[in-house]
């Protein structure tokens, strides 16, 4: 079985600015990995590069075995990737339900179930059902974050790229998000998450990559987390 | 150092020019050159695209013409009144247009200039479609301006004065603030500058100089028509600046020279092209100024955005960087040492 995501020597530019200097990592189906690092290290850029949202890219990005490095963004999505950006991107001119229904269901992953139905999503996120006719941006921060993730679940994407979903949210909401990630993992989703909040990511991820200056400088498996804490503390300045 | 030599050369050429080319044609070039430079002050240095600059050209021209014909005033007063009229118009138009940003600003200038067009069309003193004819050359400080050669040097002096004013403005602290506004307006505001005041001042200055160009042109050609207030004229000055190089000092002048010469020679160019290619339609090129102008516009926006002077400048800059790179010490093998 091929890796859900296989990146080799990924380099990326924003215009003239060279931001990723050779990222290589591999994620198996059903795994949850976390990208850690200081601000500006290139974590968000890595996710964006996977989606083709940066400038020039070179190297190799294989999603379920298909090469994605040369594809336009909308075709990459069709490979079964769901992207949840840091700014959440809830559309103000659409209602909650319109926001939810917006992404088209992708005829993507072979064999895997098509996107979650609306009923399943509302079962998982009951508060979204309550607010379905409200304008998207009138939801609270936590609700908007839920909406942003629920949106991509509808598409049938099995590889989820989540950028700082716990940022700026109350602890009670963050706990709910952690439970959501666990549920998704049980359902077999593959998740790559960029997280500033180490305490949030620590119990969820199978593996941690530390990124600095556009490169991976440290790879730590979940089992070795305690042993490598000093290294991590130094790198993250936590 | 290079610049001083180029300036000297240009000046000498300008002084000698009327002996090799038609003085009236040259004066037309200078007037449009000044007009384009005035326009460039807004787009090239403040980042404001005015789509209604014809209003100022025409206002200066019509008021000057009226002053000299009906009111019988002397030439310097006429020119002054023309500049005053266009400045006032600039104040009003600018104050209204600045209330909106970006693309809305341009649309407002276009709409307001259209109002000026209709005013010129209807106002009795402009004689509407017939145009204002028979503007006398008169005299200036005892110099007889009906002599083309004499008038040429007067117009050259006006041009140099206007150009020098623009150069001074651009290099002054005021000009630096304008550039800051162009690059990052929110930043300029956060630094405490009253951006609207600066924009308005730049607008009025630009309008005044455009009016000066218009007034001078009316003096040279002895008439003023609605063409000068029509929106196609506003488009033409944009084209001149684009072709020559937006944001450069000399670019608009070069662009004006090129476009005015092209318009002049279009008929001949068309006939030549028809002869060379055997395509009859080319012979009508002389009447199809719009088609050629449109083509040049499209080609420039897509392929030639920096304009003539801009491209030359970029070429010179890349050569200079190459030379500098060759003369600096190479970084040492162990990785230390000053990077290039």
């Amino acid at each position: 079985m091929s890796a859900a995501l296989e990146i080799s020597n990924l380099q990326a530019w924003y215009g003239e600015s060279h931001v990723l200097h050779g990222i290589s990592l591999s994620v198996q189906p059903g795994e949850v990995v976390a990208l850690l690092g200081r601000n500006g290290a290139g974590r968000t850029t890595t996710l964006r590069a996977i989606m083709g949202l940066t400038g020039r890219r070179s190297g190799s990005i294989k999603i379920n075995g298909s090469e994605a490095i040369g594809l336009p963004t909308h075709k990459i999505a069709h490979l079964g990737v769901g992207y949840c950006p840091e700014e959440r991107g809830i559309f103000a001119s659409l209602s909650t339900e319109e926001n939810l229904m917006l992404p088209p269901v992708l005829a993507s992953s072979k064999g895997a179930a098509a996107g979650m139905s609306i009923a399943e999503i509302y079962a998982m996120f009951p508060n979204l059902q309550e607010r379905r006719n409200s304008q998207g941006t009138r939801l609270s921060g936590g609700e908007q974050q839920m909406l942003a993730v629920a949106r991509i679940l509808r598409t049938g994407a099995r590889l989820l790229l989540l950028d700082e979903i716990s940022e700026g949210l109350a602890p009670v909401i963050v706990q709910a998000l952690a439970r959501m990630i666990t549920t998704l993992k049980e359902k077999g989703y593959t998740i790559v998450m960029v997280e500033q909040n180490f305490r949030f990511a620590a119990p969820l991820a199978d593996r941690f990559y530390v990124i600095e200056h556009g490169q991976i400088v440290e790879t730590i498996a979940s089992a070795d987390l305690n042993a490598r804490m000093p290294v991590l503390t130094e790198l993250l300045g936590v | 150092m290079n610049k001083k030599i180029l300036c000297m050369a240009a000046l000498i050429l300008a002084l000698a020019a009327p002996f090799v080319a038609y003085p009236v044609f040259l004066m037309k070039l200078l007037c449009f050159g000044l007009f384009a430079c005035a326009f460039n002050l807004l787009i090239g240095y403040t980042g404001l695209l005015s789509f209604g600059h014809a209003a100022f050209l025409g206002a200066g021209g019509y008021v000057m013409g009226y002053a000299l014909t009906t009111a019988g005033l002397p030439v310097p007063v006429g020119i002054l009144l023309g500049v005053l009229a266009s400045s006032l118009l600039g104040l009003v138009m600018g104050a209204l247009a600045i209330r909106r940003q970006g693309i809305y600003f341009s649309m407002i200038t276009l709409a307001l200039a259209q109002m000026v067009y209709f005013a010129a069309l209807r106002a009795p003193f402009t004689h509407g479609e017939d145009g204002l004819q028979g503007v006398p050359r008169g005299s200036l400080f005892g110099l007889d301006l009906s002599n083309d050669l004499v008038l040429y040097y007067v117009v050259l002096a006006i041009f140099v004065a206007g150009f020098a004013l623009i150069v001074r403005t651009v290099h002054s602290p005021f000009g630096q603030v304008l550039k800051a506004i162009k690059e990052n307006e929110p930043r300029a505001i956060s630094l405490g500058y009253d951006v609207d005041r600066y924009k308005l001042l730049a607008f009025v200055l630009s309008a005044a100089l455009a009016g000066l160009a218009g007034a001078t042109k009316t003096l040279v050609l002895s008439f003023e028509t609605l063409t000068d207030v029509h929106w196609t004229m506003s488009g033409l000055v944009i084209l001149m600046t684009l072709v020559g190089g937006m944001g450069t000092l000399v670019g608009p002048v070069v662009g004006a020279f090129l476009i005015v010469s092209l318009e002049n020679r279009l008929g001949d160019l068309g006939t030549w092209l028809a002869g060379v290619t055997g395509v009859e339609w080319f012979a009508t090129l002389g009447e199809s100024v719009g088609v050629v102008t449109g083509l040049v516009f499209v080609a420039c926006v897509l392929l030639f955005r920096r304009g003539v002077v801009g491209e030359i400048g970029a070429l010179v800059e890349s050569r200079r960087r190459l030379r500098v790179r060759r003369t600096l010490p190479v970084s040492r093998a162990d990785g230390s040492g000053t990077p290039l």
Binding site: M51, L53, T73, H74, I76, A77, H78, Y83, P85, F91, A92, S93, L94, E98, M101, L102, P103, P104, L106, R151, I152, T155 | L49, L96, R99, R100, Q101, G102, I103, S106, M107, I108, L110, A111, L112, Q114, M115, F118, A119, R122, W231, T232, G235, I238, L242, W281, E287, S288, V289, G290, V291, V292, T293, G294, L295, F297, V298, C300, V301, L302
Partner: protein, 294 residues
């Protein structure tokens, strides 16, 4: 019967003419707004493409023996296709730049299109006959309604409202609205945004072409008919703002009516009344009547 010293028939007739003009303002400013929302480009060539629509109708009827109803469908399609070619081959390269370049490019295209048509047709006008089914007039009691003018207003309003419905109430419209806010994210969801952009531009200019066909039997068809109109439409857009579809429609119609009324009481002012309204709005409510300023 007289109102303010003007016979009712004359007043109603001018009001109707105002509504006719207003319909064109509405259709054109709607197209401009839709294009600007998604592409961030002010399509100066909107007026020229309106002219092309009118000329295609004229040419189709007089030279190819097609009838008005066929041209009502064919001309907008042709103009839409032309728009798609323009977007694909030229506009697309300018999106990364300052959006003033889009305005300049479309301005150049305007000169080009008008120049080409001028070289074939000169500046004098052509007229197209009103189709038989719409000829004549209906007596409404308080006024005589020229059937064709009633048709123009009705057809334009229907098209505008249909456009509003599609944009505000359908899934397709949701893509457009979302794409206006954040095109990259919509693309990340798997929507082919470049194609949506292309089709939106084509649709916007097809609206202009349709307006041209509607206009051909009532307005003198000349190569310059578009540019005079587009400058007024710009003023309409400044007044109404481009953020709201309904706002564009209401503003366009309203200004047409105001223009018509001005023509009754103060004919010379009718040329500039829209600009005067723009000046007033700028002084009192700079953001525009319905604007959600970008």
């Amino acid at each position: 019967m007289e109102i303010f010293g003007v016979p009712l028939q004359a007043l109603m007739s001018q009001l109707l003419l105002g509504l006719v003009n207003g319909s064109f303002y509405a259709m054109l400013s709607l197209g401009l707004a839709v294009i600007f929302g998604l592409l961030n480009v002010i399509n100066f060539s909107h007026g020229a493409l309106y002219m092309v629509g009118a000329f295609l109708a004229y040419i189709g009827v007089t030279q190819f023996g097609l009838n008005y109803w066929m041209m009502l469908v064919l001309a907008p399609l042709a103009v839409g296709l032309l728009g798609i070619v323009i977007e694909r081959s030229m506009l697309r390269w300018l999106y990364k730049l300052d959006h003033l370049y889009g305005l300049l490019l479309t301005f150049g295209l305007t000169l080009l299109l008008e120049g080409v048509f001028r070289s074939f047709y000169g500046v004098s006008g052509q007229t197209l006959d009103v189709p038989d089914a719409l000829a004549g007039a209906t007596d409404l009691g308080f006024m005589i309604l020229p059937n064709y003018r009633g048709w123009v207003v009705g057809a334009s309003l229907s098209v505008c409202l249909a456009t509003w419905f599609v944009i505000e109430k359908t899934r397709l419209g949701a893509y457009l609205r979302a794409g206006t806010e954040n095109p990259k994210l919509v693309e990340a969801f798997g929507v082919n945004v470049p194609m949506m952009v292309m089709l939106t531009y084509g649709f916007g200019v097809a609206l202009a072409g349709l307006a041209g066909v509607l206009a051909a039997p009532v307005i003198n068809v000349t190569p310059l008919m578009g540019s005079n109109l587009i400058i007024v439409v710009f003023a309409v857009v400044v007044i109404g703002g481009m953020g709201s579809i309904l706002g564009s429609i209401v503003t366009g119609l309203g200004l047409g009516v105001i223009e018509g009324l001005t023509r009754v009481f103060y004919p010379e002012g009718s040329e500039v009344v829209v600009f005067v309204v723009m000046v007033i709005v700028l002084m009192l409510r700079p953001a525009g009547l319905f604007g959600k300023e970008k």
